[in-house]
Subunit: 334 residues, 2 copies
């Protein structure tokens, strides 16, 4: 086989089968997928969560991850926002003709490792090849199915006055690491993407609190956009405190130099949690026990003022309204 | 709003919300999707089918359909191969910067109409925008979830000696119509793509026969490749009769002129059925009652000879082995 992906690898014929058998199945094999039918059949009962995301990040490999890890984590985390335990993923590849097979293998290895870490199975897939110049290397779509435990009813509409707002760690790491990689910028302390599967972290907090109202992962558009979405969906105001929001020094420094606000930078391993105030301490304790939650902090609360808006209290006591992201800060960040 | 899709429409911020609210939701709105959470929550019980496909067809609009109709039908038909009734779809869009909003609306309208025809709901979605030159207009991924009725166990591994092989209609229509559109070729009688949702047709035959062993839709790679897959998966031989395979005159003519074999041309509204011989007549009768099955025919049988191979008996009584598609006949056909 050639060391580059050819148009005929997307033909559906002999070479497609070769590509799947030699370069995809070794990384993905499991009893459901191995049947090689046109769809997976699985047994499920109760309420399930279903989500989809396409990943078009540039560059494909960045400090702390690559498009393969990102595609698995992003969909697991979207499922986790409903409280669901991710179970099954689909994997749809769109590959540009001429893409190096070695890069495909690296990405598939990353898909495989991340799926194992998170305990999910890739059960169905699809591969398309487009002519050179009609895509940019590789785009990956993952859709996912998760099972929602009994009694869990999370939604962006459920934030209530008095609720606490928690972030599970430092913000801006993913966006800044990708931007630095893209632009060839160097840090004295390297910044890595936070790209991580948060299903374990979410099941941990759901086991200590039945009063979690909303979960959402602040990806594209950053923390500010996610909080705005929740404020609008729930018809409440959200007040956050600048001093309480965890930001790595290197991320803050890079943002200051480039004129970015970390509130708008994408994260790929963080969750915003809105919970009843009495449970905030036990949620923070549970988060601190998880490798992906050690910098978790309460950063604000839900108010009846400023309905549909997010207000930031600065270190000097001033207030400013923080809107949704307008324009596009960092294209192709996920 | 501009009449073209901008990078900022993929930012996750204000313009992403505008794009979704103005140009996607009007076509897709339903109670599950309207919650606008990061994933859909749905109640399901029993065995389900799960599948994914990305659509990269060129041109986006062709006689008999467009990428929107194709993306809905393709995934419904993959679910139907397990006997599942398609219920829920995800919709992942990758849009090239500068793509005309009017074209997006036409495609979304087509998604909406086809989903209504088939009785499925789009319950979750994602939109990414990539810079001009990094994609080719629009790529669509649909994943789907269907429910498998009790007692139905279909798989490509279940073909048995003596089984009949049925095709639900004429072959090659999709590939020839797309090729003609792409190359500006004219027919005296226009050939339209057969692109259609086959869930109703499949539930019809499952209601008249409990002895259907395999279903598969012969898309990329055509009928020949699909039959080869089934022969290999089941470890059987498959014998088909050239004179019995329905092909439209215009398709046959075009293939003769261009040196193509209709056996390798993609279909998007056809199903290969392998069933016990005693049920073939009642299956054909049920197919003939459906608008998408009126040209259905028995085209061959499963044999114990030529294990893992497909043999074609010509009109003159000669036999030839029909392999899987090698190379790529028609790139980007779906």
């Amino acid at each position: 086989m050639n060391d580059k992906v050819l148009m005929a690898h997307g033909s559906g014929g002999r070479l497609s089968h070769d590509l799947i058998e030699k370069y995809l199945m070794p990384y993905l094999a499991n009893p459901v997928l191995n049947k090689m039918d046109d769809c997976a059949t699985i047994a499920l009962n109760g309420r399930i969560a279903f989500t989809t995301d396409s990943y078009v990040i540039k560059p494909l490999i960045f400090p702390g991850g690559d498009i393969g890890r990102l595609a698995v984590c992003g969909t697991i985390n979207d499922l986790a926002t409903s409280g669901a335990t991710a179970k099954y993923l689909s994997l749809g590849l769109i590959i540009e003709e001429g893409f190096p097979v070695a890069d495909l293998e690296r990405i598939m290895s990353s898909v495989s490792e991340t799926a194992k870490e998170a305990g999910v199975l890739v059960v169905t897939g699809d591969t398309k090849v487009v002519d050179h110049g009609s895509a940019d290397g590789i785009f990956i779509n993952t859709s996912g199915i998760g099972v929602i435990p009994e009694g869990i009813h999370l939604s962006g509409t459920r934030a209530k006055e008095g609720d606490k707002v928690i972030i599970t760690g430092t913000i801006g790491d993913h966006g800044v690491s990708v931007m630095a990689q893209r632009e060839g910028l160097k840090f004295s302390v390297p910044v890595e993407s936070d790209c991580a599967p948060l299903n374990g972290l979410v099941s941990g907090i759901l086991s200590v609190s039945l009063n979690i109202h909303c979960l959402r992962d602040p990806t594209r558009g950053g923390l500010a956009t996610t909080l705005n979405e929740l404020a609008v969906q729930s018809g409440v105001g959200i007040q956050i405190y600048q001093d309480k929001i965890p930001v790595k020094d290197a991320v803050r420094g890079m943002c200051e130099i480039l004129g970015f606000d970390p509130l708008y930078i994408a994260n790929e391993g963080k969750m915003v949690i809105i919970s009843a105030p009495e449970d905030a301490d036990s949620i923070i304790s549970a988060l601190h026990e998880n490798r992906y939650g050690k910098d978790a902090a309460v950063i604000g609360e839900v108010t009846s003022q400023y309905k549909g808006r997010v207000v930031l209290k600065t270190g000097l006591g001033a207030s400013r309204i923080v809107g949704m992201l307008t324009g596009d800060l960092l294209p192709r960040i996920c």
